[in-house]
Symmetry: C2
Subunit: 226 residues, 2 copies
Amino acid sequence: VYRAKGKKVAAYRAAEFIQDGMIVGLGTGSTAAFFIEALSLRYKTGLMLEGVVPSSKRSAELARLSSLPVRNLNDVDRIDITVDGADEIDSLKRMIKGGGGAHMREKILAFCSKEMVVIVDESKIVSTVGMTKLPIEILPFGATKTGTNLETLGYEGHWRAEDEVRFITENGNYIYDIPFKTPPLEPERLDQQILRIPGVLETGFFFNLAGRVVIGYENGSVSIWH
Amino acid sequence: VYRAKGKKVAAYRAAEFIQDGMIVGLGTGSTAAFFIEALSLRYKTGLMLEGVVPSSKRSAELARLSSLPVRNLNDVDRIDITVDGADEIDSLKRMIKGGGGAHMREKILAFCSKEMVVIVDESKIVSTVGMTKLPIEILPFGATKTGTNLETLGYEGHWRAEDEVRFITENGNYIYDIPFKTPPLEPERLDQQILRIPGVLETGFFFNLAGRVVIGYENGSVSIWH
């Protein structure tokens, strides 16, 4: 797997942050999958967990296969730490997520957690957030119009699809991907403008959510932003 | 039906606004139902319509039973006018909707329309918006936590339910109703604060959406705000 080494060392390093008795939120994606693997290894060798709370069916399945004690977000009294990947992160810890289409639940989970630990390989570090694209979750009702309304902001996107079948999130919605030719000057302002359009449910921008950031490199080294 | 007269005269007056060749958005609720009835009568006596676009399954069913030419929002090139009720409206045309739980689709439809005509009986006119309650559509994933996060804004709400079964919107979500003891001083600001919480999908606040407002009175008279 491309960049698997960087992802894996970041994930395994983050697993060392988990302490006995914690409730741990699980992100979604290839890096989060390495974290689930690493957490499972620690769990099987004596780490006590009050529970893990997945942000997607995929991660829930992975966690169950790894015998982790899966719990529902509605049924726990807290999330001590959530560990999740990111598609982009800049030095202000502003992120873009949603490449896997799970960002709405991931954002809820991160927001409900005492700390969100971000695990990325070095390729995810950007000078300013908005280098590639912004995934936006859109209600199917009137989606064509909502896409047109987004274009009035100056961004022409496209509906995520595979083999011409439109991608459906676990919440039953579409993903509209806005490509960036150049990063937005004020991503926070753009985010507000996008969220103001009815039919937009959530953007892939994550602001003020990241705690520690664990960066894994292909040479096996790790650096941590506090 | 309580206040049926005021609702009915407002709805019938608004139906006179509809012109040949229009595409008409249909709201949801008891007042909108009177409008569908009135529009159907006009349609059966010669009014030409390019289509009607309902904001809910209930209104779609009513429209079909009335033989109106129902179309999907994604398939029309415009909405000329949408006619819908409101739970509250003040002199700045700020509204609260969502008593019927359909406000997310209603807001999309209103936003996509050249004009939203609001039809209300006199009891819906308030001095400032926020006299009773604010319905909020919430994603089921983590809903308990999202409710707790809303409480930190100072409002303790409750999950809409009937016979202890939680109400589910047509989008598959819950409704959290926030009661107001006194109206919020800055409803626009409160709206932004609420929308910033992940898991919140849409509030019942409608700002900058109302065009003409048709008010029906129990004595059969009608007044119109332009």
